[in-house]
């Protein structure tokens, strides 16, 4: 589904991503973890076309996409959500989703039909006619997912859609993510909450200081000393011996 080879990104003189290489297979749920500033969102920005990598290649469904714009990448079936949610504040939840659907659907009517289906799927039908600005954090995150879903993605990049939710909301979001996998959508997920990411991912990729430090099944990554070091510091790892 997605093949990433040797991509790098600098801001000024600082490498934020350095020679990142990995693959994501059809139907997988891959988690992306790493401490703050590790480069997770930057990686999403590169994959979704908001940043350009000066090196390497990104192949999506066998096609080179590293030179494409975000809008064209989305139309190829790779869609992302934003960690800092970006609802269209003055439009209703429904029309937020309609706009997502429009890039794939032929006309407004078809897009509206699709939007209603999606609102049903993400259980937001009751908020259908509220303006985007009036939503709670949890609903904003849900709207991010709903809109992205409306673009009929094959691969969906979820950027911290569970951050800042209360336990109840969190459970709802986990259910939603599971439903997405049942629909056959491949997921690449940034998440801070370890138990959650371990639970939903088939495989995990860990970043630290822009480097890919570990990759594998959740259990293996969780026990990897480099990951522990990145999260907890040298001393902790040494003390655990």
């Amino acid at each position: 589904m997605l093949e990433v080879r040797d991509i790098s990104k600098w801001f000024g003189g600082n490498p934020v991503l350095h020679d990142i290489t990995f693959r994501i297979e059809q139907g997988e749920v891959v988690g992306l973890i790493g401490p703050n500033g590790a480069g997770k969102t930057t990686l999403f920005n590169v994959l979704s076309g908001f940043y350009r990598s000066k090196t390497g290649a990104i192949r999506f469904k066998g096609e080179e996409i590293s030179r494409l714009n975000p809008e064209d990448i989305c139309r190829k079936g790779l869609c992302r959500t934003f960690q800092i949610t970006k609802p269209f504040s003055n439009l209703t939840v429904f029309n937020n989703v309609v706009i997502g659907a429009l890039s794939r659907e032929r006309g407004i009517r078809q897009a509206e039909k699709k939007a209603d289906e999606i609102l049903d799927l993400v259980e937001m039908t009751s908020k259908r006619d509220l303006p985007g600005r009036s939503l709670t954090i949890a609903d904003r995150k849900r709207l991010e997912v709903a809109r992205a879903l409306a673009t009929s993605p094959d691969l969906l990049l979820l950027d911290e859609v569970m951050a800042g939710l209360n336990p109840n909301e969190l459970k709802g979001m986990i259910d939603l993510v599971k439903r997405l996998t049942e629909l056959g959508i491949t997921l690449f997920v940034i998440e801070h909450i370890m138990t959650v990411i371990m639970g939903i991912s088939d495989r995990i990729i860990a970043l630290d200081h822009g480097e890919l430090i570990c990759e594998g099944p959740p259990k293996k990554v969780a026990d990897d000393p480099k990951v522990l070091k990145a999260y907890l510091g040298e001393d902790y790892v040494a003390a655990q011996g």
Partner: protein, 309 residues
């Protein structure tokens, strides 16, 4: 072109540029700190010219002395303008940010027209009437160079005040607070800086600076209600060229535009010169939105902030 003529043009250009620099600094300060383009800046300059004109005309106060009155006056005008109009536009949609000051400029311009009519008014000072003759400098191969006294004074005071203001911004506590706020509003807020007060003071200082510029310009230019519009366009060019928000940039760009204007006026005629520098202006906006002399990367930083991490 003889070397004397060349030197004459350069000197005229630099003298002109000093005026542009001083009047643009306020505009760039206001943009840098509160990210608002003050479309009414030219109209405040026009008001300042009128103030000095009327003080001279009715009370016989020398325009250079009138600064003693216009400086505090325009500081207060700036403060009130901020509190009544500008404050409401901070964080408002772009339409409000642009058109509130556009509306202000329409109101001020036409009030001036109502009260003072469209007549052209000038202040001529006897002691300035004879130009300074510099030279000849046989060693440099230059003949006599003519320097307009009023322009020389305006340049000298304008540049000194600009430099003083630059130093003030760089080293004084208030200057540091203002610069901190313009770099990162949120962090400044977290550091306990009273943003609203910084904005009030910055706007007031920006307007105060055109108060000074007005007094320096009235012995040189005629004042009429539409004079602000003529100058504000040049100020935009200077500010964009210097990098929006950069005081040093505005000073350099002011001098640069002064020289460009004098040369292009001489070489291709006064009518087309404006068109030329507006085209330069668009080119700079497009290819180097941070300005020719501004710091790089502001645009990119904004992008990074917008999409996270």
């Amino acid at each position: 072109m003889s070397s004397t003529l060349f030197a004459q043009l350069v000197i005229s250009g630099i003298l002109l540029g000093g005026i542009y620099a001083l009047s643009s600094i306020g505009l760039t300060l206001i943009f840098g700190v509160m990210k608002i383009v003050n479309f009414a800046h030219g109209e405040f300059l026009m008001l300042a010219m009128y103030v000095s004109f009327w003080l001279f005309h009715s009370l016989h106060i020398d325009p250079y002395l009138s600064m003693v009155i216009s400086v505090p006056l325009f500081f207060v005008v700036g403060m009130l303008t901020y509190k009544i109009f500008i404050r409401k536009t901070i964080g408002a949609p772009i339409l409000a940010q642009i058109f509130v000051t556009v509306g202000l400029s329409i109101i001020i311009e036409n009030l001036a027209l109502l009260f003072w009519s469209a007549d052209f008014r000038t202040v001529s000072l006897a002691y300035l009437s004879k130009p300074l003759i510099v030279g000849p400098f046989p060693g440099l191969g230059l003949e006599e160079i003519i320097v307009n006294k009023a322009r020389f004074i305006a340049f000298f005071l304008g540049i000194s005040l600009s430099v003083a203001f630059y130093l003030f911004m760089k080293f004084s506590y208030l200057g540091k607070v203002i610069r901190a706020t313009s770099q990162d509003r949120t962090t400044a807020l977290l550091m306990g800086i009273n943003i609203d007060r910084v904005y009030t003071l910055s706007f007031a200082m920006g307007i105060l600076l055109v108060g000074i510029a007005g007094a320096l310009m009235i012995p040189i230019y005629t004042v009429h209600p539409f004079v602000g519009f003529e100058f504000v366009l040049i100020m935009f060019v200077v500010v964009v060229l210097g990098g929006m928000g950069s005081i040093m940039g505005a000073m350099i760009a002011g001098l640069f535009i002064g020289v460009v204007e004098v040369f292009s006026g001489f070489l291709i005629g006064p009518e087309s010169k404006q068109a030329i520098y507006f085209l330069v202006f668009i080119a700079v906006l497009v290819f180097r939105p941070s300005g020719l002399f501004g710091e790089k990367g502001e645009e990119e930083l904004e992008r990074i902030e917008a999409i996270g991490e």
